[in-house]
């Protein structure tokens, strides 16, 4: 229970930080929104399916942008504010504190994703008609959770470096490319496919397309439920590794005593 209380307090704290400066949502929205627009402009006269394909990718990118920046700055901000050693010396393990922050960021990620979807629908005057609403929502939420676990994995690694900000900026496009957010991954070089398959959001976006597009022809052969299965397995794997990594990072940070260096 004390651990859950730490998570709840961390969640409330993250929410308060967000409401103190809500304009920070803009950077996470602008990139996926512009990228989706670029894709639609490339089509010139996009079909409703093309619009849906692009905005679904934009929605996923919106969620990833938020998760990435939230995890990248999760500990870096504490470094700047001088609160990181207080967090590490608290009796609650770090993973429960980061967990509360991650849950809040995931909720904001939903807002990001939906904003990109709705804005593109309004601009291109295409109604959001998905083939199966409930399967779509399931895939959407699970993809978000998978992104959150991936973000936790990265945030654990970011604790060790003073350059989290640079890494955060650098990881945005690789995930967009690797997950095939805007194009099927079979267009990528064959050697890169295992890397794409190791990313849970790759399966998530495929499941989203299966649920949303009535005649989706480029999907993986495992189908919707196969996508969901791989998504779940990879997400659990990310979570397990990040829990282990946080313990290792905590141990190392205490040993080297350079946590506050920035």
């Amino acid at each position: 229970m004390p651990r859950l209380r730490a998570t709840a307090a961390s969640f409330r704290h993250q929410a308060a930080m967000f409401w103190a400066e809500p304009q920070w949502i803009i950077p996470n929205i602008i990139a996926p929104f512009v990228l989706a627009m670029v894709v639609l402009m490339l089509y010139q006269e996009p079909s409703p399916e093309a619009v849906l394909y692009a905005v679904l990718g934009g929605g996923m990118m919106g969620m990833w942008g938020n998760t990435l920046y939230a995890s990248g700055f999760s500990i870096q901000s504490d470094r700047w504010w001088g609160t990181v050693d207080a967090i590490f010396s608290a009796p609650s393990p770090l993973i429960w504190i980061i967990g509360g922050r991650t849950i809040w960021n995931a909720l904001v990620g939903i807002v990001n994703g939906l904003f990109v979807l709705v804005a593109a629908m309004v601009i291109f005057q295409t109604p959001l008609e998905v083939a199966d609403f409930w399967l779509f929502m399931l895939a959407f939420v699970l993809t978000l959770l998978s992104l959150a676990t991936l973000g936790m994995l990265f945030s654990a690694a970011f604790v060790l470096t003073r350059s989290a900000q640079v890494l955060t900026n650098g990881l945005e496009f690789p995930i967009y490319v690797g997950t095939g957010s805007m194009f099927p991954i079979f267009l990528l070089p064959y050697w890169s496919h295992p890397l794409s398959y190791s990313l849970a959001p790759t399966w998530g976006i495929d499941a989203i397309r299966y649920a949303a597009l009535p005649a989706y022809a480029d999907g993986f052969s495992v189908g919707y439920w196969g996508d969901i299965l791989y998504l779940a397995i990879l997400s659990v794997l990310y979570l397990t590794v990040s829990i282990w990594l946080y313990k290792a990072v905590d141990h190392r940070a205490r040993k080297t005593a350079n946590l506050m260096r920035y």
Partner: protein
């Protein structure tokens, strides 16, 4: 001492040296090299694969690769330069800087000087990727013309970044503006598709950003256009770059006045 402060060139140089030292005080050089080599690669890859998927006959992969190779400059000349004032605020040095008698223009252009070098390196690497990985044909290229395009675009876009940076004096953060203009160029500047694809009301905005002229000139240079053929576009780009730099200076003074009168200078 006062002679040093009133000498604009000396102020420019010391500001440039200090900015480079400050950057590497927090940024690991290995990380900087990773950023230099990694950012443009994935940006070009993303749009090249999108173009391949969309398969619009009017937009070749070569068109997209060259556009994004030049636009990769924005990470440096728009994003990093725009954040100059915001970073001074974060470090708590903006007040000291503004109460000094040193010439403002020299101080802030000096702060951006290292980013010009950084930008030239970024774009050069991006064009190497375009040639070696994305198979852009450089057999007819006018290398001198292309180098001139890169040089003029880097200077002009740094001027554009400095103009945006002035907003950071008044706003709580310049990071938001930097993020918006980092990506908006991908849509407005003819990077991924011709400007003519945009609705008519958006096209004037495209031509108010120097990058638009740069992308067109870069494609012409790769196709072998001579310096004479490029001169019109390069002249327009230099002119727009000069105008935004002057506008940036005037905005800087205006926002400095506003920030002083409203007491928002150290708000971040």
């Amino acid at each position: 001492m006062s002679e040093n402060v009133s000498n604009p060139l000396r102020v420019f140089w010391s500001s440039a040296v200090l900015a480079k030292r400050a950057l590497f005080a927090w940024l690991n050089p290995a990380m900087w090299i990773m950023q230099l080599f990694g950012m443009s690669l994935f940006q070009i890859a993303f749009f090249v694969y999108v173009a391949k998927f969309v398969n619009n006959s009017e937009v070749s992969m070569e068109f997209v690769a060259i556009g994004n190779a030049l636009q990769s400059l924005a990470y440096v000349s728009v994003f990093a330069v725009c954040n100059i004032t915001g970073e001074e605020k974060n470090q708590g040095t903006i007040e000291n800087l503004l109460v000094s008698p040193a010439n403002r223009f020299s101080v802030f252009v000096g702060r951006a000087a290292f980013q010009i070098v950084n930008g030239l390196a970024t774009v050069t690497i991006a064009f190497l990727y375009a040639a070696l990985i994305f198979n852009v044909d450089f057999s007819q290229a006018n290398y001198l013309g292309l180098a001139t395009v890169i040089l003029v675009t880097t200077f002009a876009m740094t001027g554009f970044g400095l103009m945006l940076s002035s907003l950071g004096l008044f706003l709580r953060t310049s990071m938001i503006v930097a993020n918006i203009f980092l990506f908006i160029g991908l849509l407005l500047c003819g990077v991924n598709f011709p400007v003519s694809f945009l609705p008519g009301y958006l096209q004037p905005f495209s031509y108010a950003i120097p990058m638009t002229y740069g992308t067109e000139a870069a494609r012409m240079a790769v196709q072998g256009a001579s310096l004479g053929e490029l001169s019109g576009l390069l002249g327009m780009e230099a002119l727009v770059g000069f105008i935004v730099m002057i506008a940036g200076y005037l905005m800087f003074r205006g926002f400095e006045y506003l920030a002083r009168s409203k007491g928002t200078l150290d708000r971040f």
